[in-house]
Every structure is written in structure tokens, then in C-alpha cells.
Symmetry: C2
Subunit: 112 residues, 2 copies
DNA sequence: TTTAAATATTCCTTGACACGAATATTCCCA
DNA sequence: TGGGAATATTCGTGTCAAGGAATATTTAAA
């Protein structure tokens, strides 16, 4: 039984502004390196480097088209994130948080 | 109209193994610094430092109980992550990816 | 009031990484 | 075949963050 282990690599790849922007951009469809660099105001080498990080972490995949590389998002990392976040549903619906705290406080008081 | 902007701070806070472990641990309920350090085999100062990062990023909140600090997860970051990941639903349900690719390929071929 | 427990903070060192600049590689086409 | 376009890679540099060790702070209890 695996208890929803989130891959650190995915998160650290996303935890960089330029790469996050690239991912948001690719949400609307695949793009070439040049298009990505243009739209985000990046220099081509930086774009390539960030795309390599995203590719190594499995967030992005590349399709070679002659001269150009077309990058697109892969589904798996997002499915994994979704699955992981869902393991915190009981945290997200904090309707019972006050009750939980109250019960916990009671338990603490009677354990000196 | 905000297009689901994910906070980088949240991601970089989670993109560290020890902090990820802390978060996974707190999923089962609030804990004190000492308990967290014990269960994860961390030294107390490191645990405190990581908890500070988690606290500064809003992932965790603290309740002061005399000598001890009880840390618990906050709901907002996870709700935000959930919302953000959901903006990639069309990526996650890759049922039509093959069709998409096919159509896109066709379009590329006829644009020399 | 002194002592011990729980936690936070500081200082230092080291390693990772992002950027810029330059260069290498691959491919198409005239 | 040579040249230009698109992309990747390398190298050097500066910054930032994590760990270790030591210390400061707060609180309860004797």
C-alpha cells in the first residue's frame, strides 16, 4: 500500500518562476523552444536549459520536428500531484477543524 | 480574471525532502517540534528551521502551548494546489492526446 | 531562584543552481 | 557544399539555502 508519495523532483522543477511560466504557457498547447523564449522574454539558451530540467523531471516531453523541438506537457506528473493533493482532502475541508482542535485540547488537558 | 496562478513559495517549501516528510507526517494530525524531530530522525534545530520555512510559506500554523509549539497544516495552500492542478484537467485526461497529436501533425505538414 | 525541558536563532561552511556569454550541433535549403 | 536557422551545451560567476555546532529564549517545576 503506497500512501501517495509525491516526487520531490517534480516540485523543485516547478519551484522556479521561469519554469512555472513555461508550464503555464504549455497548458494552452505544445510550443517550440523559440516560441517559448519569445513569449516569456527569455534568451534561447535559458529556455533550453529550463526545458531540459522540465524534461528530466518528466513534466515535459519533446517531439523532434527537423530543426525544431516541440515541447508539450506530460499528463503523469499532474495526475500524481492531483492524487497527492487529494490525500489531504480532510485538511482542505476544514469544516471539522474546530471540533478536532477542541477534542485535542481536552485530551491534552487531562494528561499532566 | 485570474488564471490559477500557483504560488512558487509553496512549491519550493515542499521541494525539500525533510519538509515534505514533515508535511506528510502532519497529514495525520498536529504535532510538536520534538515529536516531529523524533519521528523523522532530525535534530531539533533543523526541525525548527524547516518548520519556520513551512510557516513562512503559510503551509503550517503554530499553536503555542506553554513550553511547546504545536504545528498543524493549514488548508489554504492545499486548496490552492488543488485548484491549480485542476486547471490542467485537459492535460490529465489524455484520452484525446493521440487524436490531438495527429491533428497537430497534419497541420504542421501542410504549412511549409 | 535555580534547573531542566522545549524551542528558536545565529554563525559558518559547503554545495547546488540560475544567469550570461560563448560555442557546439543539427538540419534545411540555395 | 556552404550558410543560416533552431536548439543544445559548456564554462565561469554569484547567490542562496541546508546542515552542523553552539547559543539564546521561554516555560514549568523543584
Amino acid at each position: 500500500m503506497h500512501k501517495s508519495v509525491m516526487d520531490i523532483t517534480t516540485l523543485s522543477a516547478l519551484a522556479e518562476p521561469n519554469r512555472m511560466n513555461i508550464v503555464q504557457l504549455l497548458r494552452d498547447g505544445p510550443l517550440t523552444v523559440g516560441e517559448i523564449a519569445d513569449r516569456l522574454g527569455l534568451r534561447q539558451p535559458q529556455a533550453s536549459k529550463h526545458l531540459k530540467v522540465l524534461s528530466d523531471s518528466g513534466i515535459v516531453e519533446v517531439r523532434v520536428d527537423a530543426n525544431r523541438r516541440i515541447y508539450k506537457l506530460r499528463s503523469e506528473p499532474f495526475q500524481a500531484m492531483d492524487y497527492w493533493v487529494q490525500s489531504f482532502r480532510h485538511i482542505m475541508e476544514d469544516r471539522f477543524d474546530n471540533l478536532d482542535n477542541y477534542l485535542r485540547e481536552l485530551q491534552n488537558k487531562e494528561k499532566p
